[in-house]
Symmetry: C2
Subunit: 224 residues, 2 copies
């Protein structure tokens, strides 16, 4: 069952991973959301979803959406483990910058063998989180469900620690790291006026302004 992933096409693996990510709310994933997220047209998504359903990796209720089966989720988590381990390895061992590791990992995740995966995990001492703060699933497909709040929802006066940032956009990551918003950074919210669309923050002794949109990609642990 474990080598199931190996015989799947890269495209099929990408669909499984994307369905997993989009299903975070528990609800079935719509064809449109899936297509948009993968950058393909809706009929392409429909076609692949039917293939995945035929392989018992997903359940497809026509016009209603897709859900992963346990087998499909298993493979999605394997891909996510690969992705996050590779990001961590590239950043920590090879010194690849924070904002570039996502795109690299996107390619590498599909060709990583179990053996090299194990060697990387060992070299990193079995890390629990990747450089952006996302939890790395275990070999057995267990994943921590960290539940941090978006920085965008914090009130003025809140003192928080950054725990995770979304890693999809290299440009956003570059900006966040310039402002000092990286995992473990302590932040004080000086002013939070949703109407203005910006937050005033104090990070590492500096006053900073951050838009609400990027603040929705930063997840924090609240202290007060």
């Amino acid at each position: 069952m474990d080598d199931m992933a190996l015989t799947l096409s890269t495209a099929a693996q990408d669909y499984l991973k994307t369905i997993y990510h989009l299903a975070r709310g528990g609800a079935p994933v719509t064809t449109q959301a899936l297509a948009d997220s993968l950058g393909v047209a809706a009929p392409s998504a429909t076609a692949m979803v039917k293939k995945l359903a035929a392989l018992n990796l997903a359940r497809h209720e026509p016009y209603r959406g897709v859900e992963l089966t346990p087998a499909g989720e298993r493979i999605a988590l394997e891909m996510i483990r690969h992705h996050r381990l590779i990001e961590t390895y590239l950043a920590e061992v090879l010194g690849v910058s924070w904002d570039k590791v996502h795109d690299e990992a996107e390619r590498w995740e599909h060709i990583l063998s179990e053996e090299v995966e194990a060697k990387m995990a060992e070299a990193l001492n079995h890390p629990s989180h990747d450089p952006h703060g996302a939890p790395i699933p275990t070999v057995d497909g267990e994943i921590a469900h960290d539940d941090w709040a978006p920085l965008a929802q914090m009130q003025a006066g809140a003192r928080v620690t950054v725990r995770r940032v979304e890693d999809e956009s290299a440009e956003l990551l570059r900006h966040l790291s310039e402002v000092g918003l990286v995992p473990s950074a302590d932040v004080e919210v000086l002013r939070a006026t949703p109407a203005e669309g910006v937050l005033q923050l104090r990070v590492a002794g500096e006053n900073r302004t951050l838009g609400i949109a990027p603040a929705r990609s930063v997840f924090v642990e609240q202290h007060s």
Copy 2:
């Protein structure tokens, strides 16, 4: 010109690399040799060769064979550099065994970015040869032309040092390393009787018997 390789399909890259390897004699490469080496049918090779010719990466004289253009050779050498750097990195840094690195590198070579290539080369201190003794092309596409003789051609009494072994077969590599025939190993040829089809060797203080076929995959520097 350097990002040409990135826009080429994995299949096209594999054909270029294989043509380069088969052309070692200087003569044009036949369709059959190319097809056999890649494990595809002859018409598939013909079709790809025509595509490569249309891209000015190869010259195709119908019924006569293929040759790489300088641009095609450039890309082939880039793939070979990737392949051999990855083999070296996997073996030396991640501790992947000698006989497995070839198959891993075969997949990795196509997705390695210039940046990660550079980081790996640096981590390895810009190695000149891979773990099997094959020369690693430079970033500029220069490659050393080591010219060692096959162990199979040595006479009784020859004292030699192993410089390179062919890496295509994991099984062969496992056997050779059991016998101690790895790069840098000093070897004395005790008995060489082509009629028998075996060589008697002394390697690391042990008497060993090796068939002529595997001995053709071991290349040595002769001392006497």
